[in-house]
Symmetry: C2
């Protein structure tokens, strides 16, 4: 079963299990307890889809976050990445994936209807698309931007040279995007 | 001597030399000839610092390149990266490095005075900073932008999420830059 975790193959799963068996009391039982407790308490925020232990997550409930800005992310890992950067003070909306014709994932399989509801009811002034710069991510961003057109200001993360990036190591697409979006110094 | 090439340690240099000795006629002599001929003919473009076989490089001499736009890069590898992306139709200016107080590299050690000359004499309308998004690169870009202030429009490559980039794998600085430079969808 360990081998079914992402990033663990059969071999590393066996190593991890053996390690845990050796440290039964120190590691295996506490880990099992922790997994049990998370499995029992973790739930998706009814508002934004973030994972927490309450019906409404800490970010949605916080009075310190701006209520007018909504940052749309693909999944909770992206929300965590945004929070690590500590640059965004509004609230989030976690889609739970991207649109995909191949996998038959349409808007209703994601948290898109809920997003439209929130924009209609929550007095949102700006929706910021923080979807991955992949084909699926950008397709989804375009779909959402079209759905929201005229109702709210929609922006997206800038595309370009990453911080510390050297031109010689960048792909052509990024250089092209950075060139097209060049800005006054 | 092979071990003094960048990217070759003593061990890989020995392997390369042994390989060449085995293929003396097929590889070693032709390579020696080629190195000789490049050493004899390669020179820096007097105008932009690009490497070519003539005093004025092909790009500077080309009538198909726009003359009003100048793209400032750190070195020839970056110029090649821009050319691979094929997004820029103007001409270049190769600085030959970045300003560095530590290494005692000031403006006069780089091709910065020549850049100011070119802006004054060549009817340039836009100088595009395509320096690396590193500390040294950006310091140099700021210095040049200050020197050119009021004389010409200075722009720089956009910083942000690289194409194909996923938020979860990006550093905080890039997410912060992308967020601050977000643009209307």
């Amino acid at each position: 079963m360990m081998a079914r975790l992402p990033g663990l193959g059969p071999r590393s799963a066996r190593r991890a299990v053996l390690h845990m068996i050796k440290k039964r009391g120190m590691l295996m039982t506490p880990l099992a307890d922790a997994l049990h407790s998370v499995a029992a308490t973790a739930r998706e925020c009814l508002n934004c889809g973030n994972i927490g232990t309450t019906d409404i997550c800490d970010i949605c409930a916080s009075e310190k976050r701006r209520t007018g800005e909504l940052c749309v992310v693909e999944d909770v890992a992206d929300l965590w990445a945004m929070e690590r950067a500590a640059v965004f003070k509004g609230r989030y909306h976690v889609l739970g994936g991207t649109l995909s014709a191949l996998d038959a994932i349409g808007p209703d399989e994601l948290r898109i209807p809920k997003l439209l509801d929130r924009v209609a009811s929550e007095n949102i002034t700006e929706v910021i698309m923080a979807l991955n710069a992949t084909v699926d991510g950008q397709t989804t961003a375009h779909y959402i931007a079209d759905s929201l057109e005229g109702r709210v200001s929609v922006t997206s993360l800038a595309q370009g040279v990453p911080i510390g990036g050297e031109l010689d190591y960048l792909d052509d697409g990024t250089i092209t995007a950075a060139m097209k979006a060049r800005k006054a110094f």
